[in-house]
């Protein structure tokens, strides 16, 4: 249970309103007692505009339809519309919780923009669209050697509000004993294995502390968001190490093929 003393300043960040909406809905459910101030940032991802226009390129809608890719002008108009919707949704949550709120619409690389905007905020909630109707678990990504107590408390409190349970995944080595023996941490051997595991979990929210690890960089955060396919709550987001300049859900560059010779 979160006390009023542990209220946080929370920034909701997304690259579109569809992504932001999932985070806003989540924020509505966990806001009471958790959020002291609310912020919103919509990052107009440059990568999208720069990569549109290929001959066969289409947009795949959430209903499985293929539609024409909008022009850059049309895309800009859509982003303006998304910004208005984001702002409206944010103000709705803020007024319901009677907290202050701010909103920013910026342009640039998504992850970098988000992390830069997160400076001064306690928590970063990165939105991600989700088509699932059944709410999944709260997944806490932790460092097995030095578990984040703050992230653990946060995960439990949010899971209680969402009426679900916490699944803990730790990277490398055994973790400290917990009082939830039945739902103890799942240990994975590498970051790749962590992402592969997340890729197959139905999660309502993934929580990660960039200060405690195992993920620390912006690039790792980008992979985490891509693999989770749900909103990601980031602690100490401003301390994420800068990485590559591009954004969005871009896979890691292929590594040299492994040989078993």
């Amino acid at each position: 249970m979160m006390s009023s003393g542990s209220k946080k300043r929370v920034l909701i960040a997304a690259g579109s309103y569809v992504d932001a909406a999932a985070a806003i809905r989540l924020a509505e459910r966990i806001a009471s007692g958790l959020i002291a101030e609310l912020g919103g940032v919509l990052v107009d991802d440059e990568a999208i505009a720069e990569t549109t226009g290929l001959p066969v390129q289409r947009i795949v809608t959430s209903g499985g339809m293929l539609v024409q890719v909008p022009s850059r002008t049309r895309l800009a108009g859509l982003m303006q519309s998304d910004a208005r919707a984001f702002r409206s949704g944010l103000s709705g949550v803020a007024s319901a919780c009677t907290v202050e709120w701010v909103f920013e619409h910026r342009r640039g690389e998504l992850i970098s923009g988000i992390c830069e905007a997160a400076r001064g905020w306690d928590l970063l909630l990165v939105g991600h669209r989700t088509g699932r109707r059944r709410a999944g678990r709260v997944v806490l990504v932790d460092n097995a050697s030095s578990p984040s107590s703050e992230a653990t408390d946060l995960a439990r409190g949010i899971a209680e509000r969402l009426g679900t349970d916490v699944a803990m995944i730790a990277v490398n080595g055994p973790t400290a004993a917990t009082d939830e023996a039945a739902t103890g941490p799942e240990i994975v051997g590498s970051e790749r294995a962590l992402l592969a595991r997340l890729n197959r979990i139905n999660a309502a929210l993934v929580i990660v502390d960039l200060a405690e690890g195992p993920l620390r960089g912006r690039e790792q955060l980008r992979h985490l968001i891509e693999a989770s396919r749900c909103p990601v709550l980031v602690l100490n987001a401003s301390r994420a190490e800068p990485a590559i300049a591009y954004s969005t859900l871009i896979p890691e560059p292929p590594k040299a093929p492994e040989t078993d010779m």
Partner: protein
């Protein structure tokens, strides 16, 4: 002409010949006397098997119709089998059309209680089953399988795109795929610089992955649906186990009824399909002092769909036979039943539990007694009753629906088959109007039971009336009447019948008299009602109603209204009339005068000329005119101009009972013979000069007697009545005493000749062989006067003709 003896003036009952029943002999259910015809009709209607032999009972109010009908119907009903029970249950396929279930007598309540218990039990059993580890683990397994399928599809797609250097970008409209070069999304301008073959490869990948992604997205809802279906099936399987086990416990005697078995099958299917109702009921409801396990879940609104609305139940009536119902207020709703509504969030809502039975439901299989006038006065009630009888089923339609006022949801319950015998109780006028103006009436009400208003007076009926009146006294918890009291009461029954040879069958009026007499008996602490008590009650009733009579009496005695009761006058006779105010009727004398002169055979009835005379009165005057014209001066033109009037009459006059009186006045005026003013006359006359019976003879005699008595009886005063009215005489004791003392006379005549002789003291006269009336007789004087008028008229005609000729020759 005869002078009526006192024994004929009031044919009283001899108390010694009356055997008043003792308390032990009295039967509260004594049937009416002299109603054999109507009783046979009621018996036929009550026992005949065929439909539509419904009954219309006619007769005067207070004749004991209701009690008689009720008694006969109850006797028949006791011998008939108990009808079936009826309930309304939910129609799970169409809730707007509730189902009617027919059940053997006494089983409706059992089914209702059984369903309530079933709901209470399942509200405990089903949540327990769904909270069991067995159910929870099976459900979790299904959910995880579905989640895994969804995640796996997306994860595998993601893996494939990674493997072929394709990135998935999220745009405001959806997902977009783009190639990666050197770990970065390939910009559009860089794509253009690629060799054509490489561009083609990129295009092929993007097109292929776009299709795959679209397929994955399209599959997601299908997977969701599959998961939902599997969970629903699991829920149904679990619920089915609980419900089947519980329904198997329903009493065999109920499950053996075909309609109930079918209904229970529907209930089972519905509970399985709506098991969540029972799960919701479990959530946080225990706010009372009793354990949750014994909570009456069936009272919760959400379980109303499984309620049993008992319309008719015969559980507690096993020994009563078929029902006999009476409905005092036969409105449409109370007759055919109604559908009630409740206000919910500003809207009017209803369901099958709000269907309420009407009198037809309660009487189904038996008898229903209704007041005809009330049924006809209630909007749409008569129409609905006819429709139900004709269709042989009860269809519930609200008044609001009939007049298109209902703007909310309503129900169309299954009609319930109807087999009832309806008995309408009304008056003859209503029956006649219905026969004439309602074509359905004769078809639906084939039998009429017409109650007599009076019965012959003989030894058998004396005993019957005694039993009946004693029974009425017992029913009203009155003292019994002794022989004298019974004799006096029977005298009143005769007087009410206005015929000394009959008894009135207005039992209600006689019972009222007994009640009042019982009061007077109680004042003197008597054990039985005596003749004096009855007489006191009669006198008190008369006094209470006699204000108008006394004012008129006062006006006559003070000379405001001119009535002579002594002396002799030409062309003036005391007539007798009656005035009625509701049930109270009294007589009063009226001065009738006639004036004559030569004319052209015209008889002026002044009452008629000023439209104060009714048609019957005018008819009487025309008849007497015919008598005059056909009796006197037959060989000369009828050259009379006469006028007749009721003096000081300012209201309407109707009836022909004064026609003989008017004729006497005319004969007096024509003959010049004065009439004895101590006599008053009543009776109608025909063209042959015969005096005919009239109504209210007792009240008319008493009316004139009271005036004479107030002025002092001379011994010469009296009344002349038609001889045919002697049988109707039942005069009050004060008149009898005066007649016995020779102070008053009652004369009865058969013809006008007898009457005019009594009034003038001169023989009427008969025509001799020469065609002339006896010299000096009344009729000779009249004949001579009329001939004189004719001669005078002829002379007047000749003089006028001569005068005209003289003028023309000048």
């Amino acid at each position: 002409m005869i002078e009526v003896s006192t024994s004929m003036l009031c044919n009283q009952h001899n108390p010694k010949a009356i055997t008043a029943p003792t308390s032990e002999q009295v039967s509260e259910t004594a049937s009416l006397v002299g109603q054999d015809r109507s009783r046979a009709a009621i018996e036929l209607s009550a026992s005949i098997r065929h439909d539509l032999f419904n009954l219309f009972v006619t007769g005067p109010a207070g004749s004991g119709r209701h009690a008689e009908v009720l008694g006969i119907l109850r006797a028949h009903a006791a011998a008939r089998p108990l009808p079936v029970d009826w309930v309304y249950v939910n129609n799970f396929d169409d809730p707007q059309k509730p189902r009617a279930l027919e059940l053997p007598a006494g089983k409706a309540s059992m089914l209702r209680d059984c369903m309530q218990k079933l709901v209470d039990d399942l509200a405990n059993d089903i949540p327990a089953l769904f909270e069991s580890d067995e159910y929870q683990s099976q459900r979790r397994l299904i959910e995880e399988e579905i989640e895994q399928s969804q995640e796996t599809a997306m994860a595998e797609f993601s893996d494939r795109t990674h493997a072929e250097n394709i990135a998935l970008l999220r745009t405001p409209m959806g997902f977009m795929l783009t190639p990666i070069r050197d770990g970065k999304p390939l910009k559009t301008e860089d794509y253009g610089k690629l060799p054509e073959q490489e561009q083609a490869e990129v295009d092929e990948k993007i097109a292929r992955f776009q299709e795959q992604l679209a397929e994955v997205m399209r599959e997601a809802p299908k997977l969701e649906r599959q998961g939902r279906n599997r969970i629903e099936q699991l829920n149904a399987d679990m619920a089915e186990r609980a419900v089947s086990a519980r329904i198997d416990e329903v009493a065999t005697e109920l499950r053996g009824i075909e309609t109930v078995a079918s209904y229970l099958t529907d209930v089972q299917a519905d509970i399985i399909a709506n098991a969540e109702l029972f799960l919701k009921s479990e959530n946080g409801r225990n706010d009372g002092p009793f354990p949750e396990e014994i909570r009456k879940y069936h009272k919760d609104p959400e379980f109303g769909r499984y309620a049993v609305n008992v319309m008719v139940s015969h559980t507690d009536k096993a020994d009563l036979g078929a029902p006999v119902e009476m409905e005092d207020l036969p409105t449409l709703d109370r007759l055919t039943g109604r559908i009630e509504h409740v206000s919910h969030m500003g809207s009017l809502m209803t369901n099958f539990t709000m269907i309420k039975p009407g009198a037809l439901h309660r009487a189904n299989g038996g008898y229903l007694i209704l007041d005809a006038r009330r049924v006809l006065a209630e909007p749409y009630a008569w129409d609905a009753l006819k429709r139900c009888l004709k269709n042989r089923r009860i269809t519930i339609t609200s008044l609001a629906e009939r007049i298109s006022l209902a703007s909310t949801i309503t129900l169309e319950p299954d009609p319930i088959p109807l087999s009832v015998r309806v008995v309408l109780v009304g008056d003859r006028m209503l029956h006649a109007l219905l026969v004439m103006f309602d074509p359905d009436f004769a078809e639906l009400f084939k039998i009429q039971a017409d109650f007599e208003e009076s019965v012959d007076r003989n030894a058998v009926t004396i005993a019957g009336m005694s039993d009946l009146l004693a029974g009425q006294a017992a029913r009203e918890n009155l003292r019994q009447l002794n022989a004298a009291g019974m004799a006096r009461l029977l005298d009143e029954a005769v007087r009410t019948a206005e015929d000394s040879r009959k008894y009135s069958l207005k039992v209600g009026a006689l019972t009222d008299l007994m009640c009042e007499a019982d009061h007077y008996a109680s004042l003197r602490s008597a054990d039985a009602i005596d003749a004096a008590d009855i007489a006191a009650a009669v006198e008190a009733q008369d006094r209470r109603a006699s204000r108008i009579r006394e004012r008129m009496h006062e006006a006559i005695t003070r000379g405001t209204i001119l009535i002579d009761t002594s002396g002799r006058k030409i062309g003036q006779v005391n007539g007798l009339s009656i005035i009625g105010f509701g049930d109270y009727v009294f007589g009063r004398p009226s001065r009738i005068t006639a004036r004559v002169r030569m004319g052209a055979g015209k008889l002026i009835d002044i009452e008629r000329e000023v439209e104060l005379g009714g048609p019957l009165h005018s008819k009487g005057v025309m008849i007497l005119s015919g008598y005059l014209a056909s009796t006197f001066a037959l060989d000369v033109p009828f050259s009379l101009h006469a006028s007749l009037v009721f003096e000081q009459s300012y209201g309407g006059v109707d009836g022909d009972s004064a026609s003989s009186t008017e004729l006497y006045a005319l004969l007096s005026a024509l003959s010049g013979l004065p009439i004895d003013q101590g006599l008053a006359v009543t009776g109608s006359v025909n063209q042959a000069g015969e005096v005919q019976a009239i109504g209210g003879v007792n009240q008319k005699i008493e009316g004139f007697f009271d005036i004479c008595a107030a002025r002092g009886l001379s011994g010469q005063q009296g009344v002349i009545i038609p001889k045919t009215n002697i049988d109707h005489l039942m005069l009050r004791p004060r008149v009898l005493e005066a007649v016995e003392a020779g102070k008053f006379r009652v004369l009865a005549v058969e013809t006008i000749e007898e009457g005019i002789e009594a009034l003038t003291g001169v023989p009427a006269g008969k025509r001799g062989p020469d065609g002339a009336f006896e010299q000096g007789s009344v009729y000779a004087r009249v004949d001579q006067r009329l001939r004189g008028f004719a001669e005078q008229r002829r002379k007047f005609g000749r003089d006028k003709q001569a005068s005209n000729e003289e003028e023309s020759t000048r």
